[in-house]
Structures are given as structure tokens and as C-alpha cells.
Amino acid sequence: MKLEIVNGRVIDPKHGVDRVTPLYVAAGKVAALGTPPPDWRASRVIDAKGLIVCPGLVDASARLREPGFEHKATLESEMQAAVAGGVTSLACPPDTDPPLDEPGLVEMLKHRARSLHRAHVYPVGALTVGLKGMAITEMGELSEAGCIAFSQADAEIADTQVLLRALQYAATFGYAVWLRPQDPYLSRGGVAHDGEVATRLGLQAIPSCAETIALDTLFELARSTGARLHLARISTHDGVQRIREAKRSGLALSCDVAIHHLHLCDTDIGWFNASCHVIPPLRGHRDREALRAGVADGTIDLVCSDHAPVDDDAKQLPFAESEAGATGLELLLPLTLKWAREARVGLPQALACVTSRPAQVLGIDAGHLAVDAPADVCVFDPEAWWTVDRRSLHSQGKNTPFLGVELAGKVRFTVVAGQLVHES
């Protein structure tokens, strides 16, 4: 298919492109920018007047719920949600059922995803067998099967010796390890941030030190093993501070934040709104401001959706019994734009957080529009407002704290590998 996208403002953060110019796509790749290739005849011309043309979004964490949790969501629904949200590449965590600790499962998942011709799926393999935190997985085999990194998802490794060995092994082969900094004992049983809201509502609390203590441990282990460490879902003011200092001291690591933590804090729980039950928990105002500043100054490398579809039944329970998680693939773009507007951050820098920078951390050729790059493109209207509700969401997970909220930023066209996979 030969695709021509004209009149749009092309923003490619990685290559510093930001101008109204035509984009030409052929044979699944970016063919040219500005001037058409020789003998060009488009099979389809898209008029992107008033729209932004940017690299397809790269989401560093989106749960697809297959295999094992098909009552919550399926690949079909979630892949549709991804491209409806302009996400063309996503990394999915290993906490499926069974967990992604065997090459066969990884291959099956990749195969299933490929056959749907939607977004590219990059599985993150389990760091330990069964995610149990005891024995390390066959990272070599898993890597060959397509895992781009290894993680524990939300499961813990309480035994620091196991953690050390896992990082040493990964470092031997240069595998990336993505870990959530959360001390299992300090966060045990907790469902909300240890602050005024949890006190008033009588909810078991997770103190900020659960994150900072875990960060300190991980910094030390990264220093001594040389592992490529990525810290997932930072949530505290002090956590951002520590990462800033660690980076300054020369430690090579990256980190991310979930998009809802840039907007919400614990007061949004209101009267026990279970759609605000997420892990890590929504923290205080001060934490939220620090996270926003951290993304703006680059301390936090990228923003992800942390997409976790949850079925209605699992949310219609008392807060502490409800399942944690929020849907987010389709909200990543508009919520990033909202942050950028409020923080007075330019579009190229904001879009970098969800395109080129996650692509770099994932280690994939994506998130940019150089000639010969895979043609994964997102065309969106930054001024189109839409209401987040059960009908407008393509994901099977309707569980979002933003239900009923009006957001600006509607994806009009999504191109994956040169094919138009979504238009609205």
C-alpha cells in the first residue's frame, strides 16, 4: 500500500522534525518526508489538515490479559484499543496465566498478536520461574523467543540474594531488567498511600519508604552487578529525588511513570472509588508534583499507560477487596497532551515521552519517522474533545478513574507497518 499523509504537522521528536510537511509510506516503511519518492502514485491520500502526524506511540506497559485472563480482556479487544489510542508498539508484562516464563508461551503470544495485524507486541519475560522470586528463568531461551526484557510485574522478590543472582545473570548477557521498586514487607496488605486520605478512610497504607527503600536496594545491586536496570512505575517525591541523584552520580538506569500518576492523587479516591485502586497507589499532591517535574526535566524517561483491564465485578467490591488496575491504552495520548498543556511543555518533548524514549528503553526500532523506519504512524487531532465512557472505550476494561471526563486528543488514523489499521 502506498500511503500519502498531507497537510499535517509532522512531529518526530527523535530527529527534531516539527513542521507541516507531507509523509510518504510504502512497503511498510517510511519512504520519504517532504518530497515524494520518484514515480510516486499513492493508493490512499489522507488529508491531515489541522492534525498532528507523529510516530505511533510506544507503550512500555500494557496488559493484554491473554493467556489466562480472557474474562477481563482478549487480544482482539485490547489490540483494537491500542491502535484506537494511537499505540503501535507495546510491551506486555509477564503476569499472564501462566506467566511468560517459557519460550513456547512467548512464541504463542507473539504469533497471536502478529496474526491480528494491529500493534507490535513485545513481551517482557518473567525474571523468575512462575514469578515466584526463587529460581531464575531461562533468559537466553526467552530472549530468543522474543522477550525484550525481564521483569517480575507486580510480584516480589523478597529474597535479596535471589535478586542479586538474577541481576548478575541478566548482566552477564546484557539483558534489561525492569523492576517495580516496592518493598514487599512494607507494602504488604496496603491499598492506599500512607497519608491523610488513608487515615480518614481507614484503609491499610503503603508508606513512601516502601518505594525509597526498594530503590536504594536496587541502586546498590545495579552498581555491583552492572545490570541494565529500568525502574517501573515511580510514585513518590523522594523516589524521583533519589533517581535524579543516582543518575547524576553516573548510574546508568532508566525509569517510568504511569500516566494516571501524573494527574491523580489520593484525594481522588473520594468515597472509596475503586477505579482509583491502583498499584503503586495514588499518592499525595507533593508526590504528583514531583513526578510531573521529573518527566519535564528528563529524570523520568518515559510515560506509559500501565494498562490493566479489570472486569466490572472485580471493581464493584469494597475498595481493599477490589482488584487494582486501570485501563489506559486509549488514554495515554490525551492524558499526555493534558499534562503537556498544564506543564507548559512543548508537543515534541511531550510526544518524545511516549514515542522515541520508550522505544529506546525497549530497544526497538520504533517511535520515530526517519526514512526506512517501520511505518508506524499516529495521526491525531489535538483539539478534538471526547468523553471517556463505556461506549467510547474500545478496551474491555472500562475501569478508569477518568470515566465521564472530557479529554482533548482524538486519534484519527493509525498506521502499523504501512497498513491503515484504525480510522475514526
Binding site: 500512607d194 478512610l201 481507614g202 508508606p207 468515597w271 472509596f272 464493584q316 469494597p318
Partner: protein
């Protein structure tokens, strides 16, 4: 955020929490309870207010005392009372909380008195009923997790007002496991709403939430300091599960530092009253001589508790 307990006309339609309940509503409940106290002294202790109404006591957490007082209160209002002790067995059958509610609504329930181990369960039920347009069904929170126990808070306020008249000059000290106490949270909100100038909590750090001061209380780790000059001393129940874990070493050590003895009580005002939500752990929170002594108003609390619950249920059912 809009409080789900008041309807559009500002009337109390559920009693879920004392937090955010306007002072005039609290006072009205306390005033309405007064005639119910005298009803209890007649031979015929019933009034016909809730005749024909079905009150379901839904206790997901065991409590004979609280359930009994609600049952007595509802029966004295001439309501039909049905007791459901759900406990563990129902959840193991897989029926969700809201499914249970829907089934009971189909049996023409008018009021749910709910005790649950999870904070927020009564709020969830109230929201569910509202979404289903069942606004004539009222929910009374009989204790949810460590969140609130509003009827206990109200009967504590009633007791204090009965003996001390005006909140505005009082020093009230609460002693014990504040961290896990729904009774403490309810009482703190009630007292601060009614203008109590000095509310103190006395406990070791392990039994205090980190942000407790944000509720408007003064924190004391030393019981002698905390009791000095107090008009009201409220002893909170220490649940035995807390013992021996990492929170407290033993009952004996707790009693030594935080148990109410006659000696420590002498530091409070000479006419101080001693309260306890019950059931008491004698020798752990409170010494028998104090529990049975002249300062103790623990038994009147029980009587007032029935009257306050009658007041709450009749105000709700009439909304």
C-alpha cells in the same frame, strides 16, 4: 465531593460516616434520641414508627453486642427485624456483597444495617442502591473495617453531652488502638464538628496512623501527660490479635503504659467521666475498680446506644 448520606433536600438518607456530617444534623440526632431514652423506661417500650418496615441486620463480621442493640432498637420501633450472619460461609459460596444486597432488595428490604470487615462497604452498598434508583432503602453503617462506626460515635457524643452539657469547653482524651479503631475515627469527627477545643489521642506510635494529627487531634505518647485535666476519658478496645505481633509486645506491657488505673485517672479532672465502647478487656485497657467505679458511665452508654440507634433509624426511615 458530594456526600452520599444526605439527599437532595438535605435530609439524612443513610448513615455511613460522621465525617462531613453537618453539626446541625448531628445535634438533631442527639436531640431526637432524648425521648427514646424515656420510652425505654416505660412498660411498653415500643412506638409504631417503623411498623411494616423490614430491617435487615447484615453482619459480615461477627458481633453479638452491636447486632443485639440494633435488633432491640428496630423492634422498639415496631419494625420487622431479620438477622443475617454472613461471616465467612457466604463469601466462600461465591456470592458477592452486591449480589447479596440485590437478593435482599427483592425481598422488600427497607433498611440495611451493615457491619463489614472492609472499609467502604456501606458506601459501596449505598452507591449501588442509588444507581439502581432504590432511594427508599436506607443504609446504616454498623462498623466498616477501621473506617467508621457512626452510631457508636453518636452514642458517645450523646453520653458526653448528657454528663457535660457543652462540648465547647471540653478536653477529651482517647486512649488505645487508634490505628485500627473505627470508633476513634467516628468520635474524633463528631467531637471536632461539635466544636470540642481539645481532642487528644494517647497511644504508642505503633497504634497511631501517621497522619492522625491531620484529623485535628493532639498526639500524646505519655498517658499521664495526655490525661492531665481531661473531662472525658475514652478507652478504646484493644483487639487481642494485635498482641505479640510486631505492634505490641504483650497485654501486660500495654496495661503498664496505657491501661487506665485509678492512679492515672486521678490526673484527669475530679468529675471526669470514663467511657468504653465495649466489650472491655479488664486488666488490659482498664482496671476493674475504674470500670466499676463512680467515674464510669460505661453502662449508661449501652442504654443511650439503643436510644441513639432508634433516633437514627426513625430519622432515616422518615426521609
Amino acid at each position: 465531593m458530594h456526600s452520599p448520606q444526605l439527599n437532595a433536600a438535605g435530609e439524612l438518607t443513610h448513615l455511613l460516616t460522621l465525617e462531613g456530617l453537618p453539626a446541625d444534623v448531628i445535634v438533631r440526632i442527639l436531640d431526637t434520641a432524648i425521648p427514646f431514652v424515656s420510652i425505654a423506661e416505660r412498660d411498653v417500650k415500643k412506638v409504631p414508627l417503623l411498623r411494616g418496615k423490614a430491617v435487615f441486620n447484615l453482619f459480615f463480621e461477627n458481633s453479638t453486642r452491636t447486632r443485639t442493640t440494633f435488633e432491640i432498637a428496630a423492634k422498639r420501633l415496631s419494625a420487622d427485624v431479620i438477622n443475617l450472619n454472613i461471616g465467612v460461609s457466604s463469601t466462600s459460596k461465591g456470592e458477592t456483597l452486591l449480589d447479596t444486597i440485590d437478593n435482599l432488595v427483592a425481598m422488600n428490604a427497607d433498611m440495611f444495617v451493615v457491619r463489614h470487615a472492609q472499609s467502604g462497604a456501606p458506601h459501596l452498598i449505598a452507591q449501588h442502591l442509588s444507581a439502581a434508583r432504590r432511594d427508599h432503602i436506607h443504609v446504616v453503617n454498623a462498623g466498616d473495617g477501621r473506617h467508621q462506626h457512626p452510631t457508636q460515635g453518636l452514642l458517645d457524643l450523646f453520653t458526653i453531652r448528657h454528663y457535660k452539657k457543652d462540648f465547647r469547653g471540653l478536653t477529651v482524651a482517647m486512649v488505645g488502638d487508634v490505628l485500627h479503631s473505627r470508633v476513634a475515627r467516628s468520635l474524633i469527627h463528631g467531637l471536632t464538628t461539635l466544636g470540642t477545643p481539645e481532642v487528644r489521642v494517647i497511644a504508642p506510635k505503633t497504634l497511631l496512623p501517621t497522619s492522625i494529627a491531620s484529623l485535628g487531634v493532639h498526639v500524646h505518647y505519655d498517658m499521664a501527660e495526655g490525661l492531665r485535666g481531661a473531662d472525658v476519658v475514652v478507652m478504646l478496645r484493644l483487639q487481642n490479635e494485635r498482641m505479640g505481633g510486631a505492634m505490641l509486645p504483650s497485654a501486660g506491657e500495654f496495661f503498664k503504659h496505657y491501661g487506665l488505673t485509678a492512679e492515672k485517672l486521678a490526673l484527669a479532672k475530679p468529675d471526669a467521666i470514663v467511657m468504653h465502647p465495649g466489650p472491655m478487656n479488664r486488666g488490659v485497657e482498664i482496671e476493674s475498680t475504674v470500670a466499676d467505679g463512680v467515674h464510669s458511665v460505661i453502662l449508661p452508654q449501652v442504654t443511650f446506644g439503643i436510644a441513639v440507634r432508634m433516633a437514627v433509624m426513625s430519622m432515616l426511615a422518615g426521609a
